[in-house]
């Protein structure tokens, strides 16, 4: 990657981004290589994630965006090793801080889960056990990874609840989840996830169920905690606003694959994939009046059992004609079009950039 970035941008097209040699530990903190997660069902093989690769460093935030069914959540559960191996076929490599997780024993993964990596789920009411107090659930998580007395663990739980901004934490620690409001439950879950100072935090739609004012509080909290712990964060969301505020890099998923990856600036200001254009065009804007109608993507997300031939996006793509017929035959490879910006599209780079500048950007 490093030497490639020195080449001028126009030469970059045509060189597929190489997957690093399998089996060797990477230098990045988190590296996912060619991850595939397939579910055999009666209707056929559901290829939820099909060849996904990305890297993430400590202290950085990666936003994964895409429609429902694009494989975002399956990816995050895969990184945490939460798929039942009896129903899910997982292949590829996930390297976290020098340890490979896909081939590791469930025991090894369990030891890392919670301590090295933790997850914030979308719906805190169903992610917490209704029968135990919030404090007991944090204490349990903490004591599994730390050999401490109940008393110390409880004090830690109170500390954590206080850190995430729950008023009177010494009293609320004995409350049950249903006694908390939605925003407070989400805070409590963040406290639980952070109780062992994980280096990797995966947030799967952490604010989707919340009101905007509470969402703003939670996003601030995540940002502050990242600054404090220097954690790496994977932020999974369908809300491009949240991604724009929090992420350093963005990965756009479609049909279980990475179709565009780049810095937050690249993806919002110089997006090259027609699907990314579609996402940006579909979005009503709060910050300005739109001159025209919304520009939705036509059609619906594809079935993961029967992905369209060639480029998975071609039936919905307004520009599939401009690929010399390749889009229905050949699956486009991810290619680097600018340093750190990769796109999987058959259209020529120049053409993509022209379409973005002339046709798409002015209408947004």
């Amino acid at each position: 990657m490093a030497d490639k970035s020195k080449r001028p941008a126009d030469m970059l097209d045509g060189a597929p981004t190489t997957v690093e040699e399998p089996g060797r530990p990477p230098t990045s903190f988190l590296e996912v290589r060619d991850l595939r997660i397939h579910f055999p069902t009666d209707d056929g093989l559901v290829k939820s994630v099909d060849g996904l690769s990305f890297k993430l460093e400590r202290g950085r935030t990666l936003g994964i965006v895409g429609e429902s069914g694009s494989g975002k959540s399956v990816t995050s559960l895969g990184v945490l090793g939460l798929h039942n191996r009896r129903n899910a076929k997982v292949s590829g490599e996930i390297w976290l801080d020098g340890n490979e997780l896909v081939g590791a024993s469930p025991d090894q993964v369990r030891r890392m889960r919670g301590r090295n990596m933790a997850m914030i789920f979308q719906d805190p009411l169903s992610a917490m056990h209704p029968f135990y107090t919030v404090g007991a659930q944090i204490v349990e998580a903490y004591r599994i990874h730390n050999d401490v007395s109940k008393k110390v663990a409880r004090k830690h739980a109170v500390d954590m609840l206080g850190r995430v901004g729950i008023p009177k934490p010494d009293r609320r620690v004995d409350d049950y989840p249903h006694q908390f409001s939605g925003g407070m439950r989400q805070r409590a879950m963040i406290a639980m996830a952070l109780s062992c100072d994980p280096e990797l935090l995966i947030a799967d739609e952490p604010t989707t169920a919340l009101d905007v004012t509470v969402q703003a509080q939670i996003l601030d909290l995540i940002r502050d905690l990242q600054r404090e712990f220097n954690s790496a964060i994977i932020m999974i969301t369908h809300d491009l606003g949240v991604v724009a505020e929090l992420s350093d890099d963005i990965l756009v998923m479609y049909g279980g694959r990475n179709i565009e990856y780049g810095s937050v600036d690249d993806v919002f200001h110089r997006p090259e994939h027609p699907y990314t254009w579609g996402l940006l065009g579909s979005m009503p804007r709060l910050d300005r009046e739109r001159s025209e109608r919304l520009l939705p993507i036509k059609g619906t997300p594809p079935s993961l059992i029967n992905l369209p031939q060639g480029c998975a996006f071609n039936p919905r793509c307004a520009y599939s004609e401009l690929t010399d017929g390749k889009s229905t035959v050949e699956r486009p490879e991810l290619r680097e079009t600018a340093p750190g910006h990769t796109v999987a599209c058959h259209m020529a780079v120049e053409r993509r950039r022209r379409i973005w500048a002339d046709e798409i950007a002015p209408k947004l």
Binding site: V212, F268, H269, P284, L286, R290, S291, R293, L294
Partner: protein, 424 residues
């Protein structure tokens, strides 16, 4: 609540608060002016991130001017309220309190217009929508539809009206009967109203399917064969079957993916132009509401705190709560990250079981003064077509506010508070 205040959207030939304006003391004018500007800087900046120079603001407004649909009044809601009783005791159920879900809202909707109702969960926007549909009986207040008072109509009297007022539901998965075909779901509207379309029910249903962008062949399919966006289209087709005049849409797109959401939003707009529909759109997504509405009402704890034309509200919000809501929405533009001044509300919305006295927002408001805890600010017109219920509104220098504050204080016997002191 004054009558001027209660008629939101009435043509504003006579500025209602003009007369008492003269009575306003100059001290309070200065105090309010100071209070409006300084606490958050220029609030328009906090929302758009662009400097609110005089040249900018009108430009934005011109891009899509408010539609010239000043038709006649279709729906009028006056001081409408719904209190749900809370009871205790197993045998003798005594009422021990009431959840004040909606506590006196007033607005009106004109023909061809779209009114957006926004607010956080629990603010009463859905209950308001359900009361307009008469799915929920109001505790007090009055609903007038096309000049008829429908507040206390019996179900039998309401039935002929049902064809004129229809609803689009939030969840396309639970609002369609899984055991009925699309044809019988949409055809039910004709059956229930005893309507016999000229071309026959089947042909009429197929026309509706085409109208909402589905294929007529879908007539014999079941809801589970469709995706979320398609199901929402089926729901919309059913809504449109009897050519309603007013459609109450409760979170019509919030269950949909962003790309599909845009399709449905466009569809709703096209249908409005084509069929001359009037919408009341209830949503929590402020961006969607901005896109779809002509006028927007912001609700907080069962009350409307601000109501104005769409652009007026988003460019120049007057109520601190509106301001806070707008500044909390993440903007999908990374270059604005960090530039935007944010208002962070602390804590949660208080319980509607026991809402704070006077101004309900005062417990979370950074501008709250003594008066906010004692006197409820009435919803009054501060600039043409723009009503807000606040003692210290932003983006306005209209002295009428002070007049109202003063007249509101006078009966309570207290003096006007000294010049407001800013917290933080």
């Amino acid at each position: 609540m004054s009558t001027e205040a209660s008629r939101a959207g009435e043509p504003v030939d006579t500025p209602p608060a003009d007369a008492p304006a003269d009575a306003a003391g100059t001290d309070t004018v200065a105090a309010t002016a100071a209070a409006t500007g300084t606490v958050t800087g220029t609030p328009v900046d906090t929302v758009t991130g662009t400097p609110a120079t005089g040249a900018d603001a009108p430009l934005v407004v011109q891009e899509r001017a408010a539609p010239q649909r000043r038709g006649e009044l279709l729906l009028e809601v006056d001081n409408l309220g719904k209190h749900f009783p809370v009871t205790s005791g197993a045998i003798l159920r005594r009422q021990t309190g009431a959840v004040k879900a909606v506590d006196g809202v007033s607005f009106s909707v004109r023909k061809g217009e779209t009114l957006g109702l926004v607010g956080e969960s629990g603010c009463g926007k859905t209950t308001t929508g359900r009361m307009i549909m008469r799915l929920e009986d109001p505790t007090f207040g009055k609903i007038t539809f096309e000049g008829h008072d429908i507040t206390r109509m019996s179900q039998g009297q309401l039935r002929p009206l049902r064809r004129d007022i229809q609803m689009i539901f939030q969840d396309p998965y639970s609002s369609l009967n899984p055991r009925q075909t699309v044809g019988s779901i949409i055809g039910a509207a004709f059956r229930l109203q005893g309507e016999k379309p000229k071309q026959g029910v089947k042909a009429a249903v197929q026309e509706l399917l085409e109208l909402v962008g589905l294929s007529p062949e879908h007539y014999n399919r079941y809801p589970h064969e469709f995706s979320g966006g398609q199901r929402q289209r089926i729901g919309i087709a059913r809504t449109l079957a009897l050519k309603p005049k007013l459609i109450v849409a409760d979170e019509p797109v919030s269950a949909l993916d962003v790309s599909v959401q845009a399709q449905v939003v466009n569809l709703l707009e096209d249908l409005q132009d084509e069929l001359d529909l009037t919408y009341v759109v209830i949503a929590h997504d402020l961006s969607v509401v901005r896109h779809i509405s002509d006028r927007v009402a912001v609700m907080y704890l069962g009350k409307i705190v601000e109501i104005a034309d769409r652009n007026d509200l988003y460019e120049r919000p007057m109520h601190p709560y509106t301001n806070a809501l707008l500044s909390a929405v993440p903007v999908p533009d990374p270059s604005q990250r960090g530039n935007r001044e944010r208002i962070r509300l602390q804590g949660d919305v208080p319980s509607p079981l026991d809402p704070p006295p006077a101004c309900r927002f005062h417990t979370r408001c950074w501008k709250a003064q003594e008066i906010c805890k004692q006197v409820e600010p009435p919803l009054i017109e501060l600039s043409p077509g723009h009503q807000a219920a606040c003692h210290f509104p932003e983006n306005t220098t209209v002295s009428a506010t002070d007049a109202v504050a003063q007249s509101a204080v006078a009966p309570a016997g207290g003096d006007l508070p000294a010049a407001p002191v800013h917290k933080d």
